[in-house]
């Protein structure tokens, strides 16, 4: 029973990692950039949804509000991601790889500070609204406690994964993304607008990050400007674990990381077990995987062009 319970906990936090990890992997697949500001895109999504609730629906808890909140989250995070790409990364497209990486860190710090200084009350953690059906008292199935927010989070991942698969494999833009990821120069010769594809990659990652922001708010009832840093780090780990550049790998990596954390908490006995060692075991797993499979669990799909 405990195993099943921790498995559910792990899949829930893993789903959150996966939703964010997709953003790292999609962008890396196209432009070989680790966008360290992606965690902040997730954070901005959470604040975007909170802003929608505070401005239009203060005090209400109806499930219908979730739709405008999700739209607000997605609008905020996609907006920020697109601006970020346009003004921070595009001018550095042909600069040495270290330049955009440092820029990403700078963007990350700036976004945190902008939210901290200008979002009302964001100097300390803000309470996130409780919405009917998706937050509140957990459901009891026998001995298993099923949190409502967990259902939302896992559901969001499933829907997003299906959408991603459809988008990448079945739409013109998605196939364009695949082409650019394989060979940008040839893709350009074939008439693909590479700049547009890159913007779409950023927007796609931000879309999922925005949804993850709402999921995180519902799960923990508190959001803060630093939440993106940690979540981003874990999600990046998940992306590497699954194979960076590989979208399916990001999803698998996120779930594996989440489950590993929760199972290690419960089942590793003695002095090296329990919550204090949770992160240690998660990173031990990462190291072990990278030693035996440097390309990640599912393998990086991008051919190295160096």
């Amino acid at each position: 029973m405990l195993f099943l319970q921790q498995l559910i906990n792990g899949l829930t936090s893993g789903s959150l990692y996966a939703l964010i990890a997709v953003g790292y992997t999609v962008v890396y697949g196209i432009v070989q950039l680790i966008n360290f500001a992606h965690g902040e895109v997730f954070m901005i999504g959470a604040f975007g949804s909170l802003a929608v609730w505070t401005i239009f629906f203060q005090g209400q808890t109806s499930i219908l509000i979730l739709i405008p909140m999700l739209l607000g989250a997605v609008a905020a995070s996609v907006g920020v991601a697109v601006l970020m790409e346009r003004f921070a990364y595009r001018p550095l497209r042909h600069a040495p790889r270290l330049a955009p990486l440092i820029t990403a860190i700078g963007v990350s710090v700036s976004l945190q500070e902008i939210v901290r200084l200008f979002y009302p009350g964001a100097k300390s953690p803000l309470p996130y609204p409780q919405i009917d059906y998706v937050s509140g008292t957990a459901l009891q199935l026998g001995d298993i406690t099923l949190r409502r927010s967990a259902i939302f989070t896992v559901g969001a991942l499933v829907v997003s994964a299906v959408f991603l698969w459809w988008f990448i494999n079945r739409t013109k833009l998605g196939r364009g993304m695949q082409a650019v990821s394989q060979d940008p120069d040839t893709a350009r010769l074939m008439g693909i607008n590479v700049d547009r594809v890159i913007v779409v990659a950023f927007a796609l990652g931000a879309l999922l990050a925005g949804i993850a922001g709402v999921a995180q708010g519902l799960q923990t009832n508190s959001i803060s400007q630093i939440m993106g840093f940690t979540a981003g780090l874990k999600a990046f780990t998940a992306a590497v674990l699954g194979g960076i550049g590989n979208v399916a790998g990001a999803v698998v990596g996120g779930l594996v990381l989440g489950v590993a954390e929760s199972l290690a908490t419960q089942f590793i006995p003695g002095a090296f077990g329990g919550t204090p060692w949770k992160d240690v075991w998660a990173f031990v797993l990462l190291i072990v995987v990278l030693v035996f499979r440097p390309q990640g669990l599912l393998g990086a799909r991008v051919v190295d062009r160096a």
């Binding site: 405990l2 319970q5 921790q6 906990n9 792990g10 829930t12 936090s13 959150l16 680790i34 360290f36 990486l101 860190i105 700078g106 990350s108 710090v109 700036s110 945190q112 500070e113 901290r116 200084l117 100097k123 300390s124 953690p125 309470p127 409780q130 937050s135 509140g136 008292t137 957990a138 009891q140 406690t145 949190r147 409502r148 967990a150 995180q216 799960q219 923990t220 009832n221 508190s222 803060s224 630093i226 939440m227 840093f229 940690t230 979540a231 780090l233 874990k234 954390e261 929760s262 908490t265 419960q266 329990g274 919550t275 204090p276 949770k278 992160d279 990173f283």
Partner: protein, 409 residues
């Protein structure tokens, strides 16, 4: 994970730059009323988290000190001297606090400092202030080892320049244990946030609780958001649940305690969460999403509005229209500032410049004795507050309500 360290350095740098620029513009205005006869200037430093998740508490400390100084200047408490407040942000981080303390110690007109908020930060700032002979009075450090050292059986004064107005975890933890036992609660799970404060609280609690016949069903830890946690406590709750505890004792601060309380109750575990003064904050109730009725917190001293001095402090604070609440430690910060000001009356009487009065101020602070807003303000031979009054607060109707005030025995 190399990038993490880059960000870790980058964030404090950016924040420090912002904090510094803020200081420049505001330090001059915070002196408020100027008395005509004042000729020389002495400074009292404030070092507390003025940004980040604990800034609500830190800003309350800052404004309370400003209030005490404003009142002292208005009454010309130290003839011939004007007091100024300089404040530094420690971001609740030890390394940032260390730099801030070094800056304060480098200012020759600083004689006393109120702060830090976090025990883990004070551990780093104590030696700096002590070697500069600057009096440091913390309004909020509750870890016992800061004054008596790590070995509680053989107490030994750590730093001659360090004092505190609040009581310690050696009192808060056991008081909470006695309270729960008296309520018939014998099985408790403990959770702490791995910080000096939280761990100290839980250790002190555990010792007394098991001695009095209680059982600890489970001892878990969580990670604070500042240190890379994500406020999702489901794995911890799953671990605690099978032990069927009657309460959870939490060592840590409200930014994690609020969501923890909510998630515990949402997991159909309807037991109260009890903590120390770190969770005794209105924000805890907000973050717990209205499900925290019956949650408990100990806080040092009697409720501020229980005494006339406390009522006056709260009224004055309100009248001064500071943008932030005085918070859980406002009264202690106000008392700490007044302890320094009282000492300065003696030490500055014959001093020509502030720096030469530093040692005399330390000596004078160790002898102060007056009635503050949190009770009698005086320090024992280790620098601890002599007052050991503790109050248990309970969440009732969405507010912290004093449940029981007593002197710890």
């Amino acid at each position: 994970m190399q990038q993490r360290s880059i960000v870790r350095i980058g964030v404090p740098l950016a924040v420090a730059a912002l904090a510094l620029s803020a200081c420049g513009s505001r330090a001059t205005t915070s002196t408020g009323s100027s008395s005509g006869s004042a000729s020389k200037t002495v400074k009292i430093g404030v070092i507390a988290p003025l940004s980040g998740s604990l800034s609500a508490l830190g800003l309350g400390i800052q404004h309370s000190v400003e209030l005490a100084v404003k009142q002292a200047n208005a009454t010309n408490a130290i003839p011939g001297w004007k007091i100024e407040v300089v404040f530094k942000d420690d971001e609740a981080k030890a390394d940032v606090g260390k730099n801030a303390a070094t800056q304060l110690a480098g200012d020759d007109s600083v004689v006393g400092v109120v702060g830090d908020l976090n025990s883990s930060v004070s551990q780093q700032t104590q030696p700096i202030f002590n070697s500069a002979k600057i009096t440091q009075i913390s309004p909020a450090n509750t870890n016992p080892s800061l004054t008596i050292g790590a070995d509680a059986a053989n107490p030994k004064r750590q730093y001659a320049a360090y004092f505190r107005t609040c009581t310690t975890d050696a009192v808060q933890g056991p008081f909470a244990a006695q309270y729960l036992i008296a309520k018939g609660i014998k099985k408790v799970a403990t959770v702490h946030d791995k910080q000096t404060y939280g761990q100290g609280l839980v250790e002190a609690f555990t010792k007394e609780f098991t001695k009095d016949g209680g059982t600890i069903t489970d001892a878990e830890t969580i990670t604070t958001a500042d240190n890379g946690g994500n406020n999702d406590f489901s794995t911890v709750i799953t671990k605690i649940k099978p032990g069927a505890p009657q309460a959870i004792y939490y060592g840590g601060q409200f930014p994690e305690a609020g969501p923890l309380s909510l998630q515990v109750k949402n997991a159909a575990l309807t037991i109260p969460l009890m903590g120390g003064d770190g969770i005794y904050d209105p924000k805890f109730i907000q973050l717990a999403g209205g499900k925290d009725e019956g949650d408990l917190a100990t806080s040092v001293g009697a409720p501020a509005d229980a005494s006339d001095a406390g009522k006056k402090f709260l009224a004055d604070y309100k009248a001064a229209a500071y943008p932030d609440e005085s918070g859980a430690y406002g009264g202690y910060a106000y008392d700490a500032a007044n302890a320094i000001i009282n000492a300065l009356k003696t030490s500055l009487a014959s001093a020509s410049d502030p720096k030469s009065a530093r040692q005399a101020t330390i000596d004078a602070v160790s002898k102060v004795s007056f009635d503050g807003v949190t009770g009698k303000v005086a320090f024992d031979q280790y620098g601890d507050a002599t007052s050991k009054v503790i109050t248990v607060y309970k969440v009732e109707g969405g507010k912290w309500v004093a449940d029981k005030t007593d002197t710890f025995k």
